[in-house]
Symmetry: C3
Subunit: 132 residues, 3 copies
Amino acid sequence: MNLYHFTLSTSRENLFNITSMVNDALCASKVKSGAAIIFCPHTTAGITINENADPDVVTDFLFGMNKAFPDRKEFRHTEGNSHAHLKASCIGASETVIIENGKLLLGTWQGIYFCEFDGPRTRNFYVKIIGD
Amino acid sequence: MNLYHFTLSTSRENLFNITSMVNDALCASKVKSGAAIIFCPHTTAGITINENADPDVVTDFLFGMNKAFPDRKEFRHTEGNSHAHLKASCIGASETVIIENGKLLLGTWQGIYFCEFDGPRTRNFYVKIIGD
Amino acid sequence: MNLYHFTLSTSRENLFNITSMVNDALCASKVKSGAAIIFCPHTTAGITINENADPDVVTDFLFGMNKAFPDRKEFRHTEGNSHAHLKASCIGASETVIIENGKLLLGTWQGIYFCEFDGPRTRNFYVKIIGD
């Protein structure tokens, strides 16, 4: 019920502003009050909310995440993407946004982002709209 | 429906225990079972749950976050607060807490905190109470 | 309503795959559509979603978290577990998973994990199932 599925083609490492897609799901649901759950079904990608204005924030975000969670020679996972798994858990698989008056209750500067930490890949995400 | 708005005046960098404000919202809603969503509409602040007892946990938290996500000379965002954006995404814009018997189902040592990473500012947060 | 309580005995530091326990809660609730909230009531443990296949991902996860959030001599909290509090806030106290057709809408490789950062202890977690 009120579940929407989206697909993305990603580059190696990037943040994709998916706010308009979440808004499309909300409009389709006709829900006026409740919550939207945006969920990423992958283990080397995630969902976050951050600034929607200056693209340098995205560049700095990816740079800072690579410094905090670099690839390490001690990692044993043979796929070689343990740093991406760490980033995914740190950022989280989902965000929950309040719905009020038929709109996402986001701040002026907030956008919802799909975070690719191990692309390029074809990725999915879900938006579930729960009315109250 | 059952949406509550709060305002805070913050210092440069701090954690504010907002548990009592969330409890006030829950009481006003009269909801006995469901979930509370605590949402921060800013991109250099966030919401977390951590220890409500020893204030040194807060001091150590801010110190450790500054070590993991320091300001870096390579950052390009001209506002100079990319480290605060990183912390905000890492900690997250919201927390969801279960409501049972008209109370927040928090552990004994858990408090809900508004995390300021780039103050001083006037900040807002929302509490949405969803009954089931 | 539709609240389930689980107990775990943990080792010093580990990730426990609790997906089957969350599935048990979902089955007991008979809910077909909605959301599951998995909540940890402790301040040095958390809930995350990550790969359910290669156990080396868990090993690398714990190693990388210890590098990003090590114990530091400057920490003042006398219990000596400030690094565990930091990890708990970074990973978060809860996850929210969409329910569709009576099942958790997880990706193929996703499992839900209880993260122990300061064991061994007896730990609890809650699963709340909200239908829509």
